[in-house]
């Protein structure tokens, strides 16, 4: 079965988004970030020593998994009902709330996605096919004011250049982005009112339940031993958040 395949190959390939602190790839090509680090630890325990990563746009991750380009996704791809239907998630790993990157002082007072629907000139940036885009569309933000931003750096740049009024990503992603940019004229507004807290899990292909289940077993052990917290907390994530919920609840949450 799949796990045996991975074991005999000695390596597993995951999809990542290169969006610190969830996932990152440094100038030497080394993969890091909370999600890959957790995945690496679990796979090592499963007897798969090497973890490789492909950087893929968020929207393309599930198709890539289906197209067998990667073995799993460990990228902060939050659980949602449609996604749970398309892939097999592990138990939750990283949890985060949604946030907005806005000019200092939040001059237009954005607090929820609905605020962008009511303000007829407000333009919101979000990654294509991501949670934020979905939430914004559901809140009634019209398509032409919801700009599909290809990557965080572009979103930051577009905000700095005044092309968009706010850029939405999970809290920790924006914190990291803001810290790197060293731009004193911006701030992070978090959490977005009315937006749920989301958690990701490592996603596997449909039909590979045994692999997912084996992963879950080792993940639970990792959480129990406290090693889990040691891995993710330096990145700013809360281990308690992941422990206090489960896949079933998250997959049901709209």
């Amino acid at each position: 079965d799949k796990l045996d395949d991975l074991k005999s190959a000695g390596k597993v390939t995951i999809a990542i988004g290169n969006e610190p602190p969830f996932t990152a790839i440094d100038s030497a090509g080394k993969v890091s970030g909370a999600a890959p680090d957790v995945a690496r630890a679990v796979f090592e325990k499963l007897g798969v020593p090497t973890l490789e990563a492909q950087v893929i746009e968020y929207g393309a991750m599930i198709p890539s998994l289906q197209a067998r380009r990667v073995d799993a996704i460990a990228a902060g791809l939050f659980m949602k009902p449609e996604r749970c239907a398309a892939v097999l998630y592990s138990e939750p790993v990283l949890c985060d709330a949604e946030a907005l990157l806005v000019p200092k002082g939040n001059p237009k007072a954005f607090q929820s996605y609905a605020d962008f629907a009511t303000n007829a000139t407000a333009r919101l940036g979000a990654p294509g096919g991501g949670t934020e885009e979905k939430l914004a569309l559901d809140a009634g933000v019209p398509r032409d004011r919801l700009v599909v931003v290809p990557d965080p750096q572009s979103g930051l740049k577009m905000l700095q250049d005044g092309r968009i009024d706010a850029y939405s990503l999970p809290v920790l992603s924006l914190n990291d982005l803001l810290a790197k940019s060293k731009d004193a004229n911006l701030e992070v507004f978090a959490p977005v009112k009315g937006a749920p807290v989301y958690c990701d899990g490592v996603a596997f292909r449909q039909g590979e339940e045994t692999l997912r289940d084996a992963f879950d077993v080792e993940l639970a052990a990792l959480k129990k031993s406290g090693e889990f917290a040691k891995i993710i907390e330096p990145y700013g994530f809360s281990a308690d958040a992941a422990l206090s919920t489960n896949r079933e609840a998250l997959c049901a949450q709209q």
């Binding site: 290169n18 790839i25 440094d26 100038s27 030497a28 090509g29 492909q54 950087v55 893929i56 746009e57 393309a60 198709p63 890539s64 289906q66 197209a67 067998r68 380009r69 990557d151 965080p152 750096q153 930051l156 740049k157 790197k180 940019s181 060293k182």
Partner: protein
């Protein structure tokens, strides 16, 4: 933000991927161009139809669609290619379709007189091609082939969209690491230009070699 040497290394690694894609893509394109180009003027109708269908399809749809199709849809039929293979295949087949028209055009551009002389000298079909038509058609193809090679080089940039770590992709990585947009993009613009200069110099050299002796006095 100080690690510029590291970032430059990253971009140069990407440049190496770009070079590999270009070289392998060109090789594939060249082969495909000759096969399809000669197929288009073959005496057998089915061969002509096949060649025409290939050429029109690959020239008619966008390379993006071809790339995404090869990368995301083809694996569903069981043929999973590595990003590099997918990139080379898409680029080679796409540029090859354009090259095929160049090959056909060049062969047809050899004056009909030459073909008639070969009939009068009783050469066989293959001998006509091999000894008379192709040697004269080749110099006509080379300048356009050079342009096609540069088009292919530029086309490699879009493989970054299927997350192959070519030069453009690495520039994006550097950009997200450093928060600086200008430097990585300017760097790769210059690198692409240098590569295209290398190609055009190379092609000019090949052209000179191929036309040596021809029109000796001109």
């Amino acid at each position: 933000m100080g690690d510029w040497a590291g970032y430059l290394t990253l971009i140069l690694q990407g440049a190496w991927v770009t070079v590999q894609l270009t070289v392998m893509g060109c090789a594939l394109a060249l082969v495909v161009a000759f096969v399809a180009g000669m197929g288009r003027i073959a005496p057998w109708a089915p061969v002509r139809w096949l060649a025409t269908a290939y050429i029109e399809f690959f020239r008619g749809t966008s390379i993006f669609v071809q790339l995404f199709w090869i990368y995301f849809v083809l694996p569903l039929t069981g043929l999973a290619l590595s990003p590099m293979q997918a990139g080379v295949l898409a680029l080679g087949l796409n540029v090859g379709a354009y090259g095929a028209e160049v090959v056909r055009g060049a062969i047809l551009a050899v004056p009909k007189d030459q073909y008639e002389a070969t009939v009068a000298l009783n050469l066989t079909g293959w001998q006509r091609m091999r000894h008379v038509i192709l040697p004269q058609a080749l110099p006509l193809m080379l300048p356009t082939f050079g342009n096609n090679a540069i088009e292919l080089l530029k086309g490699t940039a879009i493989v970054s969209l299927i997350s192959l770590s070519d030069m453009t992709f690495q520039a994006q990585v550097v950009r997200s690491q450093t928060g600086n947009t200008m430097v990585p993009f300017l760097t790769i613009l210059v690198l692409y230009f240098v590569l295209s200069l290398v190609i055009s110099r190379l092609m000019r050299w090949v052209e000179r070699r191929a036309t040596r002796g021809l029109d000796g006095v001109r």
